[in-house]
């Protein structure tokens, strides 16, 4: 790394920077990415007694609220609702915190962007990195819940989790890089993203099961399936929650709740995650090109 820095002193600054050079610049700045991510986490919990505990309290509170509302009051047919909810909620938190943070990241670091030269793509990426750390912290709550309920996860589907995580990170980073660049000129973007995330949450099968929608949406299901977060969420639900159907017997009558697609094996999930990864990659290329096109003027526009 050191020698790499010193051997690379010549730099050519032109109007257009090729995509590969941009990616190379980001790669060379990976140490900076780690530094920014660490800073983001440090700053967030500086001067707070509970510190990182706050990260875990967020899903814990959600868990209590949604359990009370959906399980006790509305009476959803999903058994062990907390496990079902947490499997999807952690994924959602990673996405929403990462995207919202990335969108505002360039504007939030205006002082730096105006006065220092560095690969600015690092800023949205570091926000996603920070969200990833929170994700792992929040996973502790999930693991705790699994132990409390003595839950058996679907071991055969566990290898899919890293793939799903990669897909989600790529999608979040791609979209966040795009919105971060757009937000510099038009600050409405950050507000729009905030609002969109609110709607997006309910368009993702987190508090209700995917298969219920699949059944009711009919030929419009493909619209619902366009949401990349859905594929990541149901993969997590399949691997951790594991139940495809829930049967509840009341007075001798069996009531079946459809939760996850029946007959879908690992390959089915892998195939769809692959599509998400490919689409995210395409979006990432678009985002980097757009970011690169407008980045040269950031210092003036902030």
């Amino acid at each position: 790394m050191d020698t790499d820095m010193l051997d690379r002193p010549n730099r050519l600054s032109t109007a257009k920077v090729g995509l590969w050079q941009r990616i190379g610049d980001i790669w060379r700045a990976r140490e900076l990415l780690v530094a920014f991510t660490r800073t983001e986490l440090k700053v967030k919990y500086k001067n707070s007694v509970l510190g990182f505990m706050w990260s875990m309290l967020n899903p814990a509170l959600y868990l209590v609220v949604f359990y009370v509302v959906f399980q006790l009051i509305l009476g959803s047919g999903i058994p062990n609702f907390p496990i079902f909810l947490l499997s999807g909620l952690l994924v959602w938190n990673l996405f929403s915190v990462g995207l919202a943070g990335a969108t505002g990241s360039v504007v939030a670091n205006a002082g730096l962007v105006r006065k220092v030269s560095f690969a600015r793509e690092i800023l949205p990426l570091a926000s996603v990195g920070g969200a990833l750390v929170h994700f792992f912290l929040q996973s502790v709550v999930l693991v705790g819940a699994l132990l409390v309920f003595r839950w058996d996860v679907a071991v055969a589907y566990l290898p899919l989790l890293p793939v799903a995580l990669v897909a989600l990170l790529m999608f979040t980073a791609a979209l966040g890089t795009l919105t971060a660049a757009m937000n510099v000129r038009l600050r409405d973007v950050a507000h729009f993203v905030e609002l969109a995330l609110l709607a997006w949450f309910w368009m993702t099968p987190i508090v209700y099961p995917y298969d219920l929608v699949a059944e009711k949406a009919g030929k419009w299901l493909f619209l619902y399936q366009l949401n990349p977060v859905t594929w990541v969420v149901i993969t997590f639900q399949r691997a951790i929650y594991g139940k495809v159907r829930a049967v509840k017997v009341t007075d001798g009558v069996a009531q079946v709740t459809k939760i996850l697609p029946k007959g879908a094996d690992q390959w089915w999930y892998l195939w769809h995650l692959g599509i998400v990864i490919a689409a995210s990659f395409a979006l990432f290329v678009i985002a980097l090109s757009f970011f690169g096109r407008v980045e040269g003027d950031f210092a003036e526009e902030l």
Binding site: R11, T14, A15, L32, K115, V116, D188, D297
Partner: protein, 403 residues
């Protein structure tokens, strides 16, 4: 001589937004297509900056010199053309830019160093030097939000120079911090000069450029008008470039044009040189040193004295005294000599201004920046020191008054 920086046909365009759409609907309609005016901050600049020398970029405000520096630093990218830099570049545009106020000095050293392109290992090696240079050993584990502005700037400078750049870009930031640290900064820059590193200084002070630079370039309205010998560049800057800005139409406020600058003010009170204050009726002379960057004809120097309540107590100048100042160039001094200051107890402030004879241009205006004090040992009261002789008839009452 090889070039450390090659600027080839560089232009930079900014889009100045014309109007803001107030409603969301209008914004949606015009999304990404807001009407704007193109502003070319740089136009077709070709410039070779020699290696191992100090080069000054001269220009008045808005000439594009800072934009060019930012393009060289890689903070902005040119709209057209290309800039090639050979060696590690460090830009001192703002010291401590990117400090996180919640983090400690130590954490900020590592963060800022990483931003400037240093690896963690490099930083760990240089950490002690950085802290020692910034003189912050005691406070390095304190959050920087508790730092004074001087401490902030010291740490920023210490990190920036520890990058050991081959090319150092400076934007007049060295005029910060306390005097001893300023000297330290200048020494470090001079050390860089001796070590044969390339330095580019952006400035609008020709004196500085002719003093420290071996080469210079002059920018005006985004165009390069001179480059090469600093003496020549300063000449161009002073004479050719600093054309009079457009004259305001009658009824319009005067235009600011900083071609004449007041550079220093010295008080002399010949009656009592050892005291820091005056007594009423003592003489006072105000020596105003000035510097003329571009020749002017018949500027007007005016001095006004204000009391602590902000009331003007006196105003006079070359115009009121019918003095023709003539054609001025380079440094000079105006002396306002008062035979006596007929003021009583109080703090008084002096406003100095230099304007054109027709009042269309303000060259310099220093509002109540200089102060002097009058202390009255007698028991006279009121604001002014009238010369008074009191006599009375019959004489007996005088005896009682003086007893």
């Amino acid at each position: 001589m090889t070039s450390a920086i090659s600027v080839r046909g560089v232009s930079k365009r900014f889009k100045l937004a014309h109007e803001r759409y107030p409603s969301l609907k209008e914004r949606m309609i015009h999304f990404g297509n807001t009407p704007h005016e193109d502003f070319w901050a740089l136009r077709g600049i070709d410039l070779e900056i020699p290696e191992g020398a100090t080069t000054g970029l001269l220009g008045h405000n808005g000439s594009g010199k800072s934009t060019l520096l930012k393009c060289i630093a890689g903070i902005l990218r040119p709209t057209a053309g290309e800039i090639e830099t050979r060696g590690r570049v460090a830009a001192l545009l703002e010291l401590g830019a990117g400090f996180q106020s919640e983090l400690t000095g130590r954490e900020n050293v590592f963060l800022n160093g990483a931003i400037l392109g240093m690896s963690k290992r490099d930083l760990a090696q240089r950490f002690d030097d950085i802290v020692a240079f910034a003189e912050l050993e005691q406070f390095i584990d304190t959050q920087v939000r508790f730092y004074s502005s001087g401490m902030y700037v010291r740490l920023g400078f210490a990190i920036a120079v520890s990058v050991e750049p081959d090319i150092l870009l400076v934007d007049e930031v060295l005029a910060v911090g306390d005097e001893s640290f300023q000297r330290k900064c200048l020494e470090r820059v001079e050390q860089f000069q001796r070590e044969g590193r390339t330095i580019v200084v952006v400035s609008h002070a020709p004196d500085l450029v002719s003093r420290i630079c071996q080469s210079a370039a002059v920018l005006d309205h985004g165009q390069l008008v001179s480059s090469g010998d600093p003496k020549e560049a300063v000449q161009v800057f002073r004479e050719h470039l600093r054309k009079t800005p457009p004259r305001p139409r009658p009824g319009e406020p005067p235009v600011t044009d900083d071609r004449v600058r007041v550079t220093g003010v010295r008080f002399e009170h010949p009656g009592s040189p050892e005291r820091a204050f005056l007594e009423p009726g003592e003489p006072l002379s105000v020596h105003v040193a000035f510097e003329v960057d571009a020749p002017v004809d018949d500027p007007v120097f005016t001095l006004m004295i204000y009391d602590a309540e902000g009331q003007m107590r006196h105003g006079s100048g070359t115009a009121t005294e019918h003095i023709d100042t003539g054609h001025l160039e380079g440094p000079g001094e105006v002396v306002f000599a008062f035979d006596e200051i007929p003021l009583l107890d109080g703090e008084y402030a002096i406003t100095l201004c230099v304007t054109s004879s027709d009042g269309a241009y303000i060259y310099d205006w220093q509002e109540q920046r200089y102060h002097f004090e009058v202390r009255d040992p007698s028991r006279t009261f009121g604001p002014d020191d009238f010369a008074v002789q009191i006599s009375i008839q019959p004489a007996a009452i005088v005896d009682r008054l003086t007893s």
